[in-house]
Amino acid sequence: MLDDEIVRAVLARALDSGAEFAEIYAEQRDGRSVRLDDGRVEDLVSGRDVGAGIRVLRGQQTAYAFTNLLTLEALLEAAGVAAAGLPGSRMATVADLRTVTPERQHLAARDPREADGPALAEVVRRAEDAARSVDAAVRQVTVLWADSAQDVFITNSEGHRSTERRVRTRLVAQVVAARDGLIQTGMDAPGAAVGLELLDAHPPQDVGRRAAERAVAMLDSVPAPAGELTVVLAPGGGGVLFHEACGHGMEADIVAKGASVYGGRQGEAIGSELVSGVDDATLPGSWGSMGLDDEGTPAQRTVLFDRGVCTDYMSDRLRAAKLAIPRSGNARRQSYAHLPIPRMTNSFILPGESDPAEIVRSVKRGLYCDDLGGGQVDPASGDFVFGVSMAHMIEDGELTSLVRGANLVGDGPTVLARIDAVGTDFDQRQGVCGKDGQGVPAALGNPTLRISRITVGGTA
């Protein structure tokens, strides 16, 4: 994306004052979205973002500047602004540049641009038609198609130079159903680091139908009970809980600030010995996968906890140095306009040895959470709250009535400790994880899990 001559000049300018390290992150991103709402394709939006961020580091100090223009002049100006953020005398020089090639690339089989606007309008209409045909109770259908093709160029004063192309596609259907004054919603939202082949794995009509079936089914739900209950999390449906309540606390920036309940716990038991968790950016074509992270470190599989014992944290360059741990390849940024910070990619609870059906049969009275909605967690205490978007009561080992309006309240360490059965199955979901004002694609996943006791906030 940038000639070596420009790179060397810009990095040299960035090192002009007191920085130990300088880096250029440049990208071009073509994004497109098609949104159907209220029976009509309302928006078709496309755009191109081009820009570069210049980062300089000294110890744990960072200065950053970015520009929309990739001209030598604009880049030198940004480098000057960044350099001025770390005043001092020259400490480092630019090493010889060498190209680093990602070991794994997540290449799209079919470029999203093979489908033009009208073809994508047809995709979202097919999802809508399928959703509306599920039941007369379906009131509103929103379908969103989004694709992006991002070309990333990273180079730094240590001589690293790499490029990577990342393509992502996603189809989201949201349905509102209403009957007798009760309104319920349902959603399905597959996404992957692939091209148009996403639609082969997830045909639009299936996505629309699944969202509608969930919304319509919930019309027969009863208000959730409140109190402490045994809770079973369905495969995929509970991943967000571990992402929020455990994953974020194992990001090295939060650990380094002493703001995590999991800080300084490496080698200690932080949960039930039945439970192991990983963050794995190497999974082929998965929503959060990448070849190199946004600092150029190869993407990896990082074991966060192994049979209940805290193992590794997710780190970037700065926090790895601060905690004296290896770089785990988890540096991510929303765009050139943002600083890289440690982030999850595909964070999963691994399958165990129990028969999922047997786990449900083992519960006398409890809540089976088909899907959790959004949640919030205070990383300092680990306290969390999750909405349960779809759930069933478990009575005498059988799934009975659907329940609505439940939420789960607790804290990460307690939940990890109370997992007393782990299923052999597994499923995942895709989302956009927000942290420090930056959104990045992240996948979450889990097998069937039984939590012996957890507070359920209900409305009944």
Binding site: D37, R40, V45, G47, D49, T62, Q376, G457
Partner: protein
């Protein structure tokens, strides 16, 4: 650079695009040229300093009642021409809607200057010193305050412009500054965090010590919390919590949500939806407001809109599309809103707030006697549903006993429905506090009767 110079440069680009509109086609160009600075302090040093200049243009093309949108951060002539072509292509694949209109020009609302010459007088060194002072002020509190999660100074000066083939042509420059800090408190192995903040047009007017004191006070207030007994009691929302609830209500008060069947307030205009003491106003013209502008993101003049008056629903927030869809009964309230140049306009509140009552928070607590003082809501986005009205969220806070704050509470939920909450408002505090959540939300202490606090 002067405001006028920035504005004219941006308008020049937008004019060039509008001039290329073809016969039978509407073209609207929206542009932004923004400079931002963020300084984060940690452990007595500048942890990160980030300086940004963002430019971008979004183009909306209207043909045969179909809108297409395209944007670019590359403002070269070639890229702008390609973006206009992309918007045209995109318009050919969307569905027609007779309510798709580009608004006609109207005189902008006079909100005075949103720029301030004092903004440019502040040196980078002064800004760094503010961030360091903010962090130090929290650490200095000592005792159970164990650290600072983050302490930031930020500023933003943006020129926003819009021009369209209907004759709209406007640009304005606005500057803003803020400090925000999150304090960590620890006791008996349990940690709590809470933030404090202040906003001002220019850094000279920021209350750094006030923001630090707020974070410290709020973090200590809930330290050592335990699960409460489940009970049906009055809940006293603090101004932050009230502002967050307003944010949820805002989603249901846009005409877009109403027209698309996604609002619990659909069809309720003229009906009592809240207690008589509740009056809710959205005011894009508010002097000094966090979201005050002379015109909205479609170039329509901003206005003051009475949404709920004495508990009675008076109307909804509109942009030109939702107003046109309502036919002759509505006009745009000047609430078109975009998430920057990359998105076409939707509808959102500007400065949304409840009119304050007369009693200070201490008097409200004394009146309540026994209840729950709610400082923080968690899981609001999944737990408070503006479509169904269901409300069930996690909370921390403090029990109110004998009219004063008693033991802290954590890992609890409060539940009810939004309609019941609005009708159950027993008192409105005098302590209006503006918070920069999704525009500007004005919260205050609010007492709601008969909610369920659930704990163990």
């Amino acid at each position: 650079m002067s405001s006028d110079g920035d504005a004219e440069a941006l308008l020049g680009i937008l004019d060039g695009l509008v001039a290329r509109a073809r016969v039978g086609e509407g073209v609207e160009a929206y542009g932004i040229d923004e400079a931002q600075l963020t300084i984060k302090a940690y452990d007595g040093e500048v942890e990160a300093l980030s300086s940004a200049r963002t430019r971008g243009v979004g183009i909306r093309v209207l043909r045969d009642a179909r809108f297409g949108y395209a944007w670019t951060s590359d403002l070269s002539d070639t890229a702008l021409a390609e973006t206009l072509e992309a918007a045209r292509r995109n318009a050919s694949a969307t569905g027609p809607d007779e309510a798709n209109v580009l608004p006609e020009p109207l005189p902008p609302t006079d909100v005075g200057s949103l720029d301030d010459p004092r903004f440019a007088e502040v040196t980078p060194e002064y800004k760094v010193a503010l961030a360091l002072r903010l962090e130090a002020a929290v650490r200095r509190a000592g005792g159970a305050i164990k650290g600072v999660d983050s302490a930031s100074y930020g500023d933003d000066r943006a020129t926003v412009g819009i021009a369209s083939s209907t004759g709209i042509r406007a640009a304005t420059t606005r500057c803003d500054t803020y400090v925000v800090v999150e304090a960590l408190a620890e006791a008996e192995g349990a940690t709590t965090s809470a933030y404090g903040l202040d906003t001002a047009r220019v850094a000279q007017d920021l209350d750094v010590d006030g923001a630090a004191a707020e974070a410290v006070r709020r973090a200590l207030l809930v330290l050592g919390g335990r699960k409460p007994e489940t009970d049906r009691i009055p809940v006293v929302f603090d101004p932050f919590a009230t502002a967050e609830v307003l944010g949820v209500l805002a989603g249901a008060l846009t005409a877009e949500a109403v027209q698309k069947g996604r609002s619990l307030f659909a069809g309720k205009v003229g009906q009592a939806i809240g207690a008589e003491r509740l009056t809710l106003v959205d005011d894009g013209t508010l002097p000094g407001g966090l979201s005050t502008m002379p015109w909205d993101d479609e170039g329509v003049p901003t206005s003051r809109t009475l949404l709920m008056e004495g508990g009675v629903l008076r109307g909804y927030l509109h942009n030109s599309h939702t107003a046109a869809r309502d036919g002759t009964t509505s006009t745009s309230t000047g609430n078109a809103s975009r998430a920057g140049f990359r998105s076409p306009p939707g509808v959102a509140p500007s400065n949304l707030h409840l009119l304050p009552g007369e009693a200070p928070p201490e008097a409200l607590l004394a009146d309540v006697g026994n209840g729950f003082y709610c400082q923080r809501l968690m899981g609001l986005h999944s737990g408070a549903n503006p479509v169904t009205g269901e409300f069930s969220v996690g909370v921390n806070g403090v029990m109110v006993r004998g009219g004063v704050l008693a033991e802290p509470v954590r890992e609890a939920t409060i539940a009810g429905t939004l309609p019941a909450m609005l009708l159950g408002v027993a008192a409105v505090g005098s302590d209006l506090r503006w918070l920069p959540f999704g525009g500007g939300l004005g919260g205050l202490t609010l007492v709601v009767e008969g909610m369920t606090l659930a704990g163990a």
